[in-house]
């Protein structure tokens, strides 16, 4: 799903990350800088393909945040996902430089989907063993238990019900009761997992077998921890990946000090023949609490053995300076995140299609991008599907929606804006002959009161003013932007600013949650624009029903185009992520987690 509710409905880490949307915004915090490279200019990414490294050595990640959890059934934020990939084997995973194609991890090959789209069968690889203290080979029953526990109240995974809710026999009220077996998750033998679905949803389910709840959990070991509420399995987690959290001789985890430090060491039971990851490093430390990314980035660039940072990128000036001086110490790549200005299609005057199109045409999106780091930290967006996500190329790549005149010039086109304003005048709106709005209706916009969100909001306020719109800007604490305003339709907020990312390679979550009219809710609403267009809804249904080979991605590209035609949101930047490393670290980022890939990073000898 995708609204990286951690990244979208909220973010942070990052941000965190209170509500989902709050989280997404936190991911973007901290970017600033000048747009000196020119308004429309975009800058190239750095090479990110894995490079063969030398085994051995240690690295330290200077991170602001800690893992959200070590429990694979819960963990779903940046640092947590990074650790999850290093310490657990999910059924499928991503190569570090391509988040659009899944590769078999614990699975032996690609999933088999039945003709009716209601059964997914996965064969499990042999020879993968749990780390101490479990010390036995993984079977399909461990994955069955891992998925079942994610529907209990003790392990609220957050996404289990959204992605795997079509499995036969899942609890009617997910994450509200105790453990129970799920009849639709079947294990005919130790190496076969069969998922039986109540509807032809296999196309989606097969795409989300990368999620953490498909990492095996040994029932006989975990059960006692899972009976506590909340489950304490994360404090005793059994790894299957190349690394594990440091333990003492008795098997007790000693390498995690919540909020402070996490130490990963090699899993003695890991067999490289069963894994596509090279796992060069002997040990990795994640040092939390590095809240000042400028200090952390400077330490990294001038020190040895460091990597920086986690949810947010280092300050843009530092990135720019490092790229000029020591480009080998910088990795810059798409964060699979689109930032847009959501226009509430139910509130006047934004309920008029021509007004929305006029705003889309008239707003200089590079002005909105400026507080987020300018061209260095993101390309101007013309559509909702970001680079690095499936469907991006099918939708037109960097030229999404270029055939729509109101979307063809992201730096702003006054003439086209005037054309649509005059069309809105013909609809009866108070607009003069110059295409300037003369009504006295104020447009309520809500944004976070911290940078860069407040600056982006102020830039939009100035851009909208050019067309005569009076934006009443309300700046509030980041953690309540969505929970108390934008995600509650009754608050009648007309304009909101958000970043939306996807935690699966599929465009489904990127387009459905924010634009499917049937997803509008009274609270916790992610369709901030409240777009409810029958044509868009029908196109979504069609795309969701197709598998990759049946033209699924072309269908999602069509959905993207149809949404753009309705102009419910102004996309303005496809955000990039920057990571920096010390000169002795050969850093390999992972474009799925947008974090360092600990299993491919190495120390230069």
């Amino acid at each position: 799903m995708s609204l990286n509710v951690g990244r979208a409905l909220g973010a942070r880490k990052r941000s965190a990350a209170a509500a989902a949307l709050v989280g997404a915004v936190a991911v973007l915090a901290g970017c600033g800088g000048s747009d000196s490279a020119g308004p429309a200019q975009t800058l190239a990414n750095t090479p990110i393909a894995p490079v063969k490294g030398v085994p051995g050595g240690q690295a330290t990640l200077l991170s602001a945040a800690d893992v959200d959890s070590l429990d694979p059934g819960i963990s779903d934020y940046n640092v947590g996902l990074m650790v999850l990939q290093a310490t657990q084997r999910t059924l499928y995973a991503f190569a570090p430089d391509d988040a659009t194609k899944v590769v078999p991890d614990l699975a032996k090959g690609l999933p088999k989907i039945s003709d009716d789209g209601k059964t997914v069968t996965v064969t499990i690889r042999s020879g993968v063993r749990f780390a101490p203290p479990v010390d036995r080979e993984v079977t399909s029953r461990d994955i069955k238990y891992a998925m079942e526990r994610a529907f209990t109240k003790q392990v609220p995974s957050g996404y289990a019900a959204s992605y795997f809710g079509s499995i036969v026999g899942v609890p009617k009220k997910p994450n509200a009761g105790d453990y129970q077996e799920i009849s639709g998750i079947q294990t005919p033998d130790d190496h076969t997992l069969v998922l039986r679905l109540s509807k032809p949803d296999a196309g989606l389910v097969a795409q989300v077998l990368v999620k953490g709840i498909t990492a095996p959990v040994p029932k006989e070991y975990a059960r006692k921890f899972d009976q506590q509420n909340p489950s304490t399995y994360g404090e005793h987690v059994a790894s299957t990946g190349a690394y594990m959290v440091e333990r003492d001789a008795s098997g007790k985890i000693t390498g995690w000090e919540p909020g402070r430090e996490l130490r990963l060491v090699r899993n003695p039971n890991w067999d490289p023949k069963t894994d596509f990851r090279p796992a060069y490093l002997d040990a990795v430390t994640i040092a939390g609490g590095n809240a000042d990314s400028a200090v952390a980035a400077r330490r990294t660039l001038s020190g040895q053995g460091f990597i920086c940072c986690d949810a947010g990128s280092p300050p843009v000036e530092l990135v720019r300076s490092a790229m000029a001086r020591t480009p080998e110490q910088v990795k810059l790549f798409p964060a699979r995140l689109t930032n847009w200005v959501a226009l509430n299609t139910t509130i006047a005057p934004l309920d008029n299609l021509n007004v929305r199109r006029a705003l889309m045409a008239g707003v200089n999106r590079s002005a909105l991008r400026l507080p987020r780091g300018g061209p260095l930290m993101g390309d101007l967006a013309t559509g909702y599907l970001p680079p690095g996500l499936q469907g991006y190329e099918e939708a037109g790549g960097a030229h999404q929606g270029a055939d729509l005149d109101f979307n063809a010039h992201p730096e702003g086109d006054a003439e086209v804006a005037k054309k649509y304003m005059l069309a809105a005048k013909a609809d009866g709106l108070p607009i003069d002959d110059q295409g300037i709005y003369t009504g006295d209706t104020k447009i309520l916009a809500v944004a976070a009161n911290s940078t860069p969100d407040n600056q982006t909001a102020e830039a939009f306020q100035a851009e909208a003013k050019k067309l005569g719109f009076d934006i009443e800007l309300r700046l509030v604490p980041r953690e309540v932007v969505f929970t108390n305003f934008c995600s509650t339709p009754a608050k009648k907020v007309a304009v909101c600013f958000l970043g939306f990312g996807s935690d699966t390679p599929d465009p489904y979550s990127m387009l459905v949650l924010p634009f499917d009219g049937r997803a509008i809710r009274e609270e916790g609403n992610l369709n901030i624009s409240q777009l409810n267009d029958p044509k868009v809804n029908a196109a979504i249904d069609k795309a969701a029903s197709l598998s990759i080979g049946e033209g699924r991605l072309d269908a999602w590209a069509d959905v993207d185009e149809q949404i753009l035609e309705q102009a419910p949101a102004i996309p303005y930047v496809w955000t990039k992520k920057a990571l920096v490393s010390s000169s002795d670290v050969q850093l390999v980022p992972n474009t799925y987690t947008t974090m360092p890939d600990l299993s491919f990073t190495s120390i230069r000898k």
């Binding site: 509710v5 019900a161 909340p230 000042d292």
Partner: protein
């Protein structure tokens, strides 16, 4: 004296109840991050969040929630569970408090060791060039915010990114929950720069305070008498003069220890020290209400108890106060 201490302890309990109530109102009833959303993680459906709200009792009236919080606190000494770090708040505080106490003790030692001598020198040499230079220095230190001073100190003096690499920098604090009490040799080098930064403004304030207070005392008749008796100037100043200055210094110290906890937040963030300050900052940023409540309650308890200690110390030092309080 015993009755006085008992009375103060009872007041301490009343104050702590008030603190829990106000904290609860501020962080639970005012708009903030929803603990259920935090627990549910990103991508949680509204149904899951609703189920968690029900499970945590967040849909119950505020007074019921408060009652349960106090009940757990009093009967089980349970400060709650951090849904951000997925550990109990009590265990987090137990791990972090010694670290902050290490920072606080180091800072207090520095500011007393620096501030009082400077104040004495300035008072004795009042009006001379050395007095003026010291007071200008003190004014500069008072004017520098701890956060800014911390960053400047890092960029100038830390071994990792400083121009003059003298002291250990950010991130040098040892892992493993160490503190001055358990591993002084490992921890002390990492605390020098942060304690200097935190102590700077306090040392300056104490220098000015001692200077003003001691200057007044040195003009008293009994000081003139002491000098007339032929006592050495050092004895006059340090024994007779400073004795009268000590009581207000102790009063000030009690109040400043509370302010110090606030300053520790900034210093712990800048220097990445895993203490209570950083824990509180991160909890506030993420809306981790149980941790915020635990940290505020602990801070309040510490301040109240420190003030009690100060009151008792004052009574011991000044017989007039002892009589008045009896």
């Amino acid at each position: 004296m015993a009755a006085f201490v008992l009375r103060r302890l009872l007041w301490t309990l009343v104050l702590l109840v008030i603190v829990t109530f106000v904290t609860f109102l501020v962080f639970v009833q005012m708009p903030s991050a929803d603990p259920a959303v935090l627990r549910a993680g990103r991508n949680a459906t509204p149904e899951i969040v609703a189920a968690l709200r029900d499970q945590f009792g967040l849909d119950q009236p505020w007074y019921v929630q408060y009652g349960k919080y106090v009940q757990h606190l009093v009967l089980h000494q349970d400060l709650g569970y951090s849904y951000q770090n997925n550990v109990s708040v009590g265990s987090e505080i137990v791990a972090r408090l010694p670290v902050t106490l290490s920072v606080a003790i180091g800072s207090v030692l520095i500011w007393l060791a620096v501030g009082i001598p400077i104040g004495i020198i300035s008072a004795v040499r009042r009006g001379r060039m050395s007095d003026r230079l010291l007071m200008i220095g003190a004014l500069a230190a008072i004017s520098a915010p701890a956060y800014w001073l911390g960053l400047v100190a890092l960029y100038l003096l830390s071994k990792d990114i400083g121009v003059l690499p003298i002291f250990e920098g950010a991130g040098s604090y040892p892992s493993g929950g160490q503190s001055l009490f358990t591993a002084p040799a490992q921890v002390a080098p990492a605390l020098v720069l942060p304690c200097l930064v935190l102590a700077a403004s306090f040392a300056a304030i104490y220098a000015r305070f001692v200077r003003a207070s001691l200057s007044e005392v040195l003009a008293e008749d009994y000081i003139r008498t002491a000098r007339a008796k032929g006592l050495r100037e050092r004895t006059v100043v340090l024994k007779h003069g400073m004795r009268s200055t000590a009581v207000p210094i102790i009063t000030l110290l009690g109040l400043d220890l509370g302010i110090l906890l606030g300053g520790a937040i900034l210093v712990e963030i800048v220097f990445n020290i895993p203490g209570m300050g950083r824990l509180s900052y991160e909890a506030i940023q993420r809306g981790d209400i149980p941790t915020i409540q635990g940290a505020v309650l602990l801070g309040a308890a510490l301040i109240i108890l420190l003030n009690l200690v100060v009151d008792v110390a004052q009574a011991v030092l000044d017989p007039r106060l002892r009589k008045a309080r009896a």
